[in-house]
Each structure stands twice: as structure tokens, then as C-alpha cells.
């Protein structure tokens, strides 16, 4: 049951082979057993989960959806009414959300059962989960290694089979990179497809929520429930409803896969290269052709991101003032001192660094040189993709330059850590959909293949991923230590 797909779980529930209460109990027990080792969850509420499961079991007929009664975990960046919602920060250590994020509202309405809230890098700023105030999450494949970040708790929870699926968010690779490092499938939709309402803001022009699960098919079902217009998010897109699973079975004959030469140069580990090349060979077997494309400005994506994202973060995080919610210092003088002390105590080092960089690049006299310059380069990066998609239907390459790295390996030097997202960041800057699927192992750790689609190309990407997963079994592998 712990390895079952969402479709299999749905039919087991529909045929009453198992109840949602039993299924939820199974996963809650596994969380209880394995979470002390992994630290994937920061909040678990057995009573609340079981009450929702009970309600799901009572639903019949038209009240049931393809996901009713199936448990899932939420990244702790999503507000869920009555649940502690920390965003991985001391600042929100005691924050109980007074409302539901749009994504949570929609998944609740679909009848899904929330198991708990998953650990993450503080305010989603990190690629290793080491910046969480609640301690790092461990990678189930090797607990000496990081799970990736920032959706590392979500990734570790699914990889260890503590949850069948989870929500994540991706500002510069935070769904795809942990999915790659933990051997999972995750998709970051086109910017604007999933509402940001109730998703604690990091960099608003880049943030996008999406599903993480064991397969492309699971992700398609989850995305069907998560996507949709929401007037409460000013950048939510008004588009006709899509069935993201509609093309899953389409044959791949004639598919043109673009391989950006910039993604296959130096910087990628040999083991990653071998696995990615093998996946491309498999795709050729399935009828696809590969063509070299170029993204000449992609090398500028990481530096452009580290101007734009901190600038937006410094603005977004100004709302944490110790007045309306969140941490307030115990002792302070005047109002400014209240702000400065509450923020100094509430934020961790990486968050402070990014706020300071953001405040600097937006400050008087520097705006044109940094922020405006980065926004112009952002347009060049997006234009590269437009040009590349003239010659291909989907772009492929590695998700991350290496497999999971050891704790402490990159945390001393912020710039080294930033470079672990070198292949994923351009996708956010351009607003494109991006995906990671497992495609092999290097030194016994999972390797991720990245798929990048044109704007609103999710259904095709899921199709491309699904056909590969029908021909291979990398996505079915799980870490042996958590099999029991």
C-alpha cells in the first residue's frame, strides 16, 4: 500500500478494500516511526487527520473525487486554517494560520486528508534544508546527505513513504531539485497556473506551487485539483480548466527533445551525465528525436536571480514586524527597536542575508545598476527559451549538477549553495513549467532528469514523463531502510 499510486489508492478506497481512516492511520504510524530520524515533518495532528479521513469515508457518489480519502502532506509554507504554519522560521514558530491557502482549500474540497506540515528551508530560502529553524531534514537514501531544498521535507516524506504525495513550492528550483535528490517526480507549473494565495511569499514574481509525488500520473491528478483561477492572487491566470492527465498515454513518436548545449558542459558530475544520457537514449527508443539548442544567456540566470529574488524577498518580508503576528522580542525600546530586535531574533542567517542584499539593490542610487539590470537580463533569458522552442517540443537536461551532497558541504559559502540550482533557476525567471523525474543513480543516490516545457505545456510534459515511467522503473525504487 505504501508504494501504491494515487490511482491505485483511489480504487482501493472506492472498492472499500481499505478505508481512508485505515490508510491515514498507516501513514501516521509510519511518520511516528520514521520522522524522528528524518525530521521531514514539523507538525503532525493525528486527531485532525483522522477526523478528515472519517469525513472522507462518509462521502458517496458525486461528493467523491479521484483524490477523496487519500492522505497528503503540505509544505509548511501553505497556510492551513487551525494548523501551525511556520515556513521553517522562528518568526512564525507560534503562528496558527487563520485561513486556508487556495491550494489547501482546493485539495480539502477534493477530499484529501492532511497528514501534517513538512519541514523546509526557512522562508524557502535554501537548497539543502539546512536553513530551517527546526533543524535539517535528512535524505532517506542516505541520512548523511541533504534532501535538497527548499521543499526538502515534502521530498523526504514521499521518498520514505511517509506520505503518498505532498505539496511544494518552487521559486528557483525548490520542487525540482529536492525531487531529483530524493528520487521523486515533481512539477512546477507555468507561473500563474496555481494560486499563490495563502502561500507565504518569498519572491512573488517567481513563486509557484506544485505537486510532488512518485510519478507523473500522480502529479497530473494532483495538479488537476491544485490549478485554477483565484481572484485573490493578482497574478493568477484566467484560463479554461485543463485536464492535465488527458495526454498521458499519447505515444512519443515524433517528439522533438531540445538539449541546451549550456546544460551539458562542464559543471555536471560524470555520474549525473551518464544517467541523463541513458534517459535520452531511452527517449530515442520511444520514438523521440533529440536536437541541440542553445540558451546563450542561461549562465546569467543565477546572478540575475540573486538580485531579483532577494529584492522581492526584502519587500515581502517587511510584513514581519512583530506587531500583527509572528515573533516579538521580549524586550525593546521604541517602535523601531521593536522591529529591529524582533526581526533580528526571528530570522535566521540566510534570510537576513537575502533581506540585506535585497534592501541594498533596491536602495537609492543602486536600483538601476542591479534590479533594473537584472530585469533586462531576465527578458534575454526568457527570449532564449522562446527561440529554443521553435526547434523542439520539450527541453531536457539534468535537474541538478550532482546527486545529494553531505550536510555542511556547501553551507559555509552562500554562492556555492546558490549554484546547486544552476539548471533550474532560468525556468522560474522565464515563468515556464519545469519538472524533475528520476532517471537513475550515481553512487547509490538518485539522479533527476529535468523537463522544461513551453508556457502552459504541462499536459505534454506529464505525457513525456509518463511514457518514460512506463518504460522504466526508476520512479518505483525506494530507499531500503524505509521499506519496513
Amino acid at each position: 500500500m505504501i508504494n501504491a499510486s494515487l490511482k491505485e489508492l483511489a480504487s482501493a478506497l472506492a472498492e472499500k478494500k481499505i478505508s481512508s481512516v485505515e490508510l491515514t492511520t498507516l501513514f501516521l504510524d509510519r511518520i511516528e516511526q520514521h520522522n524522528p530520524m528524518l525530521n521531514a515533518f514539523v507538525t503532525i495532528d493525528r486527531a485532525k487527520a483522522l477526523a478528515t479521513a472519517q469525513a472522507a469515508d462518509q462521502k458517496v457518489g458525486a461528493d467523491r473525487t479521484a483524490l477523496t480519502g487519500i492522505p497528503l502532506a503540505h509544505k509548511d509554507i501553505f497556510c492551513a486554517e487551525g494548523w501551525r504554519t511556520t515556513c521553517g522560521s522562528k518568526m512564525l514558530g507560534n503562528f496558527t494560520a487563520p485561513y486556508d491557502a487556495h491550494v489547501v482549500e482546493k485539495l480539502n474540497a477534493a477530499g484529501m486528508v492532511t497528514l501534517g506540515k513538512c519541514n523546509m528551508d526557512e522562508f524557502a530560502m535554501g537548497s539543502s534544508n539546512e536553513t530551517s529553524f527546526f533543524g535539517p531534514v535528512k535524505n532517506p537514501w542516505d541520512t548523511a546527505c541533504v534532501p535538497g531544498g527548499s521543499s526538502g521535507g515534502s521530498a523526504a516524506a514521499i521518498a520514505a513513504r511517509l506520505a503518498p504525495a505532498a505539496t511544494g513550492t518552487d521559486t528557483g528550483g525548490s520542487i525540482r531539485q529536492p525531487a531529483a535528490l530524493c528520487g521523486l517526480t515533481g512539477i512546477k507549473p507555468t507561473y500563474g497556473v496555481v494560486s499563490r494565495y495563502g502561500m507565504i511569499a518569498f519572491a512573488s514574481s517567481l513563486d509557484q506551487g506544485g505537486p510532488m509525488a512518485k510519478s507523473a500520473e500522480d502529479c497530473a491528478l494532483l495538479l488537476n485539483a491544485m490549478a485554477g483561477f483565484d481572484p485573490r492572487d493578482s497574478t493568477s491566470l484566467e484560463r479554461p480548466t485543463e485536464d492535465y492527465a488527458r495526454d498521458l498515454e499519447k505515444p512519443l513518436a515524433g517528439l522533438r527533445i531540445g538539449l541546451p548545449k549550456e546544460f551539458f558542459g562542464a559543471g555536471m558530475d560524470d555520474g549525473v551525465r551518464v544517467a541523463v544520457e541513458a534517459a535520452l537514449a531511452e527517449y530515442r527508443q520511444l520514438g523521440a528525436t533529440t536536437v541541440e539548442v542553445s540558451l546563450p544567456n542561461s549562465g546569467l540566470s543565477v546572478p540575475a536571480y540573486y538580485v531579483i529574488a532577494p529584492a522581492e524577498a526584502s519587500s515581502n518580508l517587511s510584513r514581519f514586524d512583530g506587531v500583527r503576528y509572528g515573533h516579538r522580542a521580549a524586550e525593546y525600546g521604541d517602535l523601531n527597536d521593536l522591529y529591529a530586535k524582533s526581526r533580528a531574533e526571528g530570522f535566521g542567517d540566510e534570510v537576513k542575508r537575502r533581506i540585506l542584499i535585497g534592501a541594498y539593490v533596491l536602495s537609492h542610487g543602486y536600483y538601476d545598476a542591479y534590479y533594473l539590470k537584472a530585469q533586462k537580463i531576465r527578458r534575454l533569458i526568457a527570449a532564449d527559451f522562446t527561440a529554443a522552442f521553435k526547434d523542439c517540443d520539450v527541453i531536457m537536461g539534468p535537474t541538478a549538477p550532482s546527486v545529494a551532497f553531505k550536510f555542511g558541504e556547501k553551507s559555509a559559502d552562500p554562492v556555492q549553495m546558490y549554484l546547486s540550482d544552476i539548471y533550474t533557476i532560468a525556468v522560474n525567471l522565464a515563468g515556464l513549467p519545469g519538472m524533475s523525474i528520476p532517471c537513475g543513480f550515481d553512487r547509490d543516490l538518485p539522479v533527476g532528469l529535468q523537463l522544461i516545457g513551453p508556457w502552459f505545456g504541462e499536459a505534454q510534459m506529464l505525457n513525456v514523463a509518463h511514457r518514460y515511467q512506463q518504460a522504466t522503473d526508476w520512479h518505483r525504487r525506494m530507499p531500503a531502510a524505509f521499506a519496513g
Binding site: 496558527t96 487563520p98 507561473y191 500563474g192 514574481s205 481572484p231 493578482s234 491566470l237 544567456n297 546569467l300 546572478p303 540575475a304 540573486y306 538580485v307 517587511s318 512583530g322 506587531v323 500583527r324 503576528y325 515573533h327 516579538r328 525593546y332 525600546g333 521604541d334 517602535l335 523601531n336 527597536d337 521593536l338 522591529y339 529591529a340 526581526r343 533580528a344 530570522f347 537576513k352 542575508r353 533581506i355 540585506l356 542584499i357 534592501a359 541594498y360 536602495s363 545598476a369 542591479y370 533594473l372 539590470k373 537584472a374 530585469q375 533586462k376 537580463i377 531576465r378 527578458r379 534575454l380 526568457a382 559559502d413 552562500p414 554562492v415 525567471l429 522565464a430 515563468g431 508556457w455
Partner: protein
């Protein structure tokens, strides 16, 4: 371009984050490392390129100017550090 300790203190003041002098020194080195890394953007020719503020070009939606939110003051104030009689409490700002 490299930040001095005074610059770091000024930025921290702008960002309303208290910073000790020991922290300021370490922070200065890290910020300078990040700024040196992003400095490569300066070498790119962007003449005539319009800045891209958002990933997808959309026009701001308008809606009728009517009340859409219910009054949830009690729920929102229940999570505030300090309130009194429906008001958020802060140190005295007007003498």
C-alpha cells in the same frame, strides 16, 4: 564596488534588522561575496531591452469597489503578540 562596515549598518537599519558589530563584519564579507558574484551582470549589453517585471505579461485585473472580505478581526487579533480593546499595541510613537 565593495561594502564597508558602515554600509552594512546602514542597510541593516533600512531593513530594520538589529546587527551587532561582530555580526556586521561577517555579514559584510558574505554580502561582498554575493555582490562580487552578481557583478557579472554589469558586463552584459542590455541597450534597448525592456525590463521584464513578471514571467507572464498580464494586465492588472479590476473589480467593483465593494466589500468582499468578512470581518475577522477577532480571529486575526487572536494571533497577535499584544492587543487591547481591538487594537494592536506598540510602544508609544507620539509624545
Amino acid at each position: 564596488m565593495s561594502l564597508s562596515l558602515d554600509d552594512v549598518s546602514r542597510i541593516a537599519r533600512l531593513a530594520r534588522i538589529e546587527i551587532s558589530s561582530a555580526e556586521a563584519e561577517r555579514t559584510r564579507d558574505q554580502l561582498n561575496g554575493i555582490l562580487a558574484f552578481v557583478a557579472q551582470l554589469q558586463a552584459v549589453n542590455t541597450d534597448g531591452i525592456a525590463p521584464m517585471a513578471h514571467a507572464v505579461d498580464v494586465v492588472q485585473r479590476l473589480r467593483p469597489d465593494t466589500v468582499t472580505e468578512p470581518d475577522r478581526r477577532d480571529a486575526f487579533q487572536a494571533i497577535a503578540p499584544e492587543t487591547e480593546a481591538g487594537l494592536y499595541l506598540v510602544p508609544k510613537v507620539i509624545e
